[in-house]
């Protein structure tokens, strides 16, 4: 804008022109008809508004009920895994050095789980007595809804088997040792076993073998002093 040309007369003229433009503005054609057409609708608008005032509380009530149901379902679905995890803590695989502890942990966890299942089953049985019809359904769905159980324990290592063998009580051999006759025959049986393995062969000896045997007998007087038991036919090694 050229400021030099903007004198007082132009200012007044421009203001008057703006005001004249505001005064002489023409209303759009057909404004009256459009206004009257729109004014003929308040009656139906009132009716629709009254109907909406009646239906809106019902809609709100239905929406609230649906929200409550959805939240309840979500709450139950999100709470169940946490509860099962608390009952069944996860047992991870451990190295073989800690296998005994793992076995103990596994046994204790399985016992706790069994006890928990027994308690839950008892409680469920007590609670489900008034409703016997739903019991099969609950039994059928319990496995599907239950959390997955941990993997079965790994097979015992050699060290674990040795420990179990040491700690094992009531073996048949130990029980047999309580028998006097069996206990009295045990030294004889041990001596027979010894002779079975260390008795010289009964085959005909040569001269060298006889000399060697005599030398050996001189070097082992204790063995020679003991009476050699008669070899049993079954104990003779086959040649």
């Amino acid at each position: 804008m050229n400021n030099a040309n903007y004198n007082a007369n132009d200012t007044v003229d421009t203001v008057d022109r703006v005001l004249a433009g505001l005064r002489d503005i023409e209303a759009p054609a057909g404004i009256e008809r459009r206004i009257l057409s729109s004014l003929q609708q308040p009656a139906t608008a009132n009716t629709s508004s009254a109907r909406s005032s009646i239906t809106s509380p019902l809609l709100w009530l239905a929406a609230t009920a649906a929200t409550i149901v959805a939240v309840t379902i979500w709450w139950n679905a999100s709470k169940r895994p946490t509860h099962d995890l608390a009952i069944h803590p996860p047992i991870t695989a451990m190295p073989s050095a800690a296998a005994p502890q793992q076995a103990d942990v596994t046994v204790s966890a399985s016992r706790a789980r069994k006890a928990q299942h027994a308690a839950v089953a008892t409680q469920t049985a007590k609670n489900s007595q008034p409703e016997p019809i739903t019991r099969p359904v609950a039994a059928a769905t319990s496995d599907t809804l239950a959390a997955s159980h941990p993997a079965p324990p790994l097979p015992l290592t050699e060290q674990e088997q040795l420990l179990l063998r040491i700690l094992h009580k009531g073996d048949p051999i130990e029980l047999a040792s309580l028998n006097n006759d069996f206990r009295d025959r045990q030294p004889i049986r041990d001596a027979e076993d010894f002779q079975r393995f260390f008795k010289p062969p009964t085959a005909p000896h040569s001269a060298e073998a006889t000399v060697d045997d005599q030398t050996a007998q001189q070097n082992q007087p204790d063995i020679e002093a003991q009476p050699a038991p008669e070899p049993e036919p079954n104990d003779i090694p086959q040649q």
């Binding site: 050229n2 004198n7 421009t14 203001v15 703006v18 005064r23 209303a27 004014l39």
Partner: protein, 183 residues
């Protein structure tokens, strides 16, 4: 009962009412005045037409008390004015100034003069918006020659002398600001 192209809306009062006012006649008589009043504030034809429609909706809402209204013209003007002021808070009238200025400057001799005139008109409209609120309102309503000073005073809730004083101050302040800004 007057009708516009077949449309007629008799405003029947309550059962004891003595008179019957035709809404179509009211629309035909006052719609264009109300449109100018609303347009002076909003400077948009669509917005002004919506204001006129809302004004007659208010008439329907108060149809039971129309007998108590002494001057229907001023009453309708006041309704439209208040509705336009209320709508002005939600829209920005300056967004419509460019088109309004171009329309006013379209009658200039040359395109260069039209462009120059449109710039000056936009500046006048901008300075009018910066006037004090009472002076701005008086200036807008005074532009509508259909309204007398007494009617403007009634619409704005002021005395006639106050309207004249405010109108004088508004013109003076606007001219001073335009000359100061243009110097």
């Amino acid at each position: 009962m007057t009708s516009i192209e077949g449309l007629s809306l008799p405003l029947s009062f309550t059962e004891g009412a003595k008179a019957e006012i035709d809404l179509a006649a009211l629309v035909e008589t006052h719609a264009r005045l109300l449109f100018r009043v609303a347009h002076s504030v909003l400077r948009s034809s669509a917005e002004a037409e919506d204001v006129v429609q809302d004004a007659f909706v208010r008439v329907l809402e108060h149809r039971n008390r129309l007998n108590d209204i002494r001057d229907m013209r001023v009453w309708l003007t006041r309704i439209a004015w208040n509705l336009a002021i209320d709508r002005r808070r939600r829209i920005r009238p300056d967004q419509f100034d460019e088109r309004f200025a171009d329309d006013l400057a379209a009658n200039s001799a040359t395109p260069h003069e039209a462009l120059h005139e449109a710039q000056r008109i936009r500046r006048v409209l901008r300075e009018m918006e910066r006037l004090p609120r009472a002076e701005h309102h008086i200036l807008l309503l005074s532009a509508i020659e259909d309204l007398s000073t007494a009617e403007i005073a009634t619409v704005l809730g002021k005395t006639e002398s106050a309207v004249r004083a405010l109108l004088f101050r508004a013109r003076t302040r606007l001219r001073e600001r335009l000359e100061k800004g243009g110097a």
